[in-house]
Symmetry: C2
Subunit: 158 residues, 2 copies
């Protein structure tokens, strides 16, 4: 599959919420997300990596306008399920490298991560799909990240 990185996107209209140290047992992810769905709040990224002992963390992004409401919902959920903490951050940006054939090219991801590193940008969350690799970074670096990724992938940065 020939890889074609067709573009770089960025958006600053999301906020991140992480429910930390939840019991890693069936039903917990549903408890975290169901009240958000019932409140009519859209969710963009949902990310859970790997357990630590018998707990896990689950993070997701919501529109910035729903950040306070979603945090309040999750503080109640955290009490109900015995989570260790709820962390939120509304000064983030999502930068993504988009293209077909991503899935078979770990080289694209490595290059994206190295490019952000070379600019001293810390990657706070990562999620990938067949057509896109997305990184959450601090919002003030969004423009720098997009410029650096454009040039790293040889895209015309008009």
């Amino acid at each position: 599959e020939r890889l074609v990185v067709s573009g770089v996107t960025s958006s600053k209209n999301e906020a991140r919420i992480a429910v930390k140290g939840v019991p890693d047992q069936p039903g917990i992810a549903a408890k975290i997300l169901t009240p958000i769905a019932e409140a009519g709040i859209n969710v963009d990224m949902i990310v859970q990596s790997s357990p630590t002992g018998d707990t896990n963390d689950l993070a997701f992004t919501v529109p910035k306008t729903d950040y306070k409401r979603a945090m309040e919902i999750e503080r109640n959920v955290a009490r109900d399920i015995g989570a260790q903490d709820v962390r939120g951050d509304d000064s983030i940006a999502k930068v993504s490298v988009v293209g077909v054939g991503m899935k078979s090219h770990s080289g694209v991801a490595a290059k994206m991560f190295s490019t952000l590193a070379a600019e001293g940008i810390n990657i706070r969350m990562i999620s990938t799909s067949e057509i896109r690799i997305s990184c959450i970074i601090t919002d003030k670096y969004a423009e720098l990240a997009v410029r650096a990724l454009h040039s790293a992938f040889g895209l015309n940065s008009e």
Copy 2:
């Protein structure tokens, strides 16, 4: 955007690797992924959720055939970057709910998680995109998960 869940997919040909407790600073994600790319190993899901103190976990999936090689690479990387641990698991399945308009429907994710919970299936990793919500579960539950998701989303489970 009207949501159309068009299908459920599952695959058992991947294995998961998690590099735990890495320093949460620029350059680390590149150090973890670059040697995998250089070894010509494809990566499907890359998932990093949120930091714990000043460390983070990064997990990714590779074809089962590359599992041992990738684990060996990451054990060396872990020593080099001072990670706490490298965990691997090659008895996993990825089940996904696929459809357009996913992004604006946290209800789909909540329903997927509840459906797996109702069958007592623990969700070990989560990653989403605009068209798909993917969960890593233990491989022996793959068929049960697909059947349960088919019926929950009203898909003809021929």
